[in-house]
């Protein structure tokens, strides 16, 4: 089984190099450096003493640069993406990005004093690299956070984070799909719920 998969992998890798520069994204060293740099940026933004609004802007800028927001959003919407109208797809992508940023900034307080270090292993999967990190916060047990790094147009981009074995994008796909299903398959119901959630998060922050 293993040698056969290896052979298949080699053939695919060869096919990929002759085709597009796919192997580039699956370069563990590059992915690790990318996570190291992005992680440092995020940690210093989270730990800065700047006002919340300013910190949120910083974090938002980092996320837009580092995360394949559109791809992750599409993955999460899954089969419903094709059922959505072009306008709905567009609005969804916009709302998804804002949800991502607002949800993270709502938890700024919890991330005070956060530190991270690169874990032991970096595994290569079919077309991504998993970069293991350990997140430490004061008074809280350290936990493992894995970053799935993909190749998006020749650039490394975060496509998923996995906390203690739980993938964020899989969990969120399940959540969004449940909302749509419980509203008779209407993507518009999800968009309404997302808009509502963003409003609540904004109200909580006082902006």
């Amino acid at each position: 089984m293993a040698p056969r998969r290896l052979l298949l992998g080699t053939v695919l890798a060869l096919a990929a190099t002759t085709g597009r520069a796919r192997a580039q994204g699956a370069d563990p060293t590059r992915a690790t450096q990318f996570i190291q740099a992005t992680g440092q940026e995020l940690v210093s933004a989270l730990n800065s003493n700047a006002p919340v609004a300013q910190r949120r802007q910083q974090v938002a800028a980092i996320l837009r640069r580092a995360v394949d927001v559109e791809g992750v959003g599409r993955f999460i919407l899954g089969r419903w993406w094709r059922q959505a109208s072009a306008a709905e797809q567009q609005e969804y992508t916009r709302l998804f990005e804002e949800t991502l940023i607002r949800n993270l900034s709502a938890r700024f307080g919890e991330y005070q004093g956060v530190r991270f270090s690169l874990g032991r292993a970096q595994q290569r999967t079919e077309d991504d690299v998993l970069v293991n990190t350990v997140i430490e916060r004061p008074n809280i047990a350290p936990f493992a956070l894995d970053w799935r790094v993909g190749d998006i147009n020749g650039q490394p981009r975060v496509v998923d984070v996995i906390a203690e074995g739980t993938s964020l994008r899989l969990t969120q796909r399940s959540e969004y799909s449940a909302v749509i299903q419980r509203n008779n398959g209407q993507v518009s119901a999800l968009l309404a719920a997302m808009r509502n959630q963003i409003q609540q998060l904004a109200a909580r922050e006082g902006h």
């Binding site: 709502a106 919890e110 350990v134 074995g165 399940s174």
Partner: protein
Amino acid sequence: MRFKPSILLLAALLPAFGACATRPPADDPESLAEFRQTNDPIEPFNRGSYAVHQAIDRNVLAPVARAYRDGVPEPVRLGVRNALANLRTPVILANDILQGEPRRAGDTLGRFVVNSTLGVGGIFDVAGNRLGVRGHTEDFGQTFARWGIGEGPYLFIPVIGPSNPRDLTGFGLGIAADPLIWLGQGTTVDVLTYSRTGATVVDTREELLDPIDAVERSSLDSYATLRSAYRQRRRAEIENRTGGGTPSGFGTGFGVGPGEPSAPSRR
């Protein structure tokens, strides 16, 4: 054959399930695939249980956990957590052995001996902090999984939390196999058992205050989020991919962990 024990348990529970989720029609392969993937054929019943659980949680479990966090100093809470974790080690050891993991069994046994003595009845995690032997979780549900028994359909049980026939059976066995139960009968044993159960529920809920608040704040459907997170996390636990630290005990269904801070370990 693979699902036999799950099916037996399910048959026993079946009269309670009034409602079943509507299975998507066969001409819609995508939603049928998702239906199978979600593995929640009795979703309406489970959502009802979840509503009951949330009512209990909002009125009793969460307020008590918050009062415990506010009223009891952190070092004391840590001591309680360590002591409860130490009481769980015999069952973890049994499962390490049943899974044929001598190294992990050795860790668990060593921790139990060191922490019960030098750690003053398990209050201090000497083995973890001084000797660097971290705890890990194991339970009968995980052992069944390692033996090739399928999880069966998803279940949500009030107070216990997300589960399935396999893990629920394992949970019951974990209680039955606990050495404290073998101490005999009588008022003293009863008091000990009830105090320990109560302490475990409060300690676990306290540990989960922040994660559950975060889920309720950020999720558009916390039932679906917990279902997905539970199943993914269980898979990771079964494959021993998790650090083994948080969450622990029941009141959550997230498995019974060592309950003390432990560094993430990877295979």
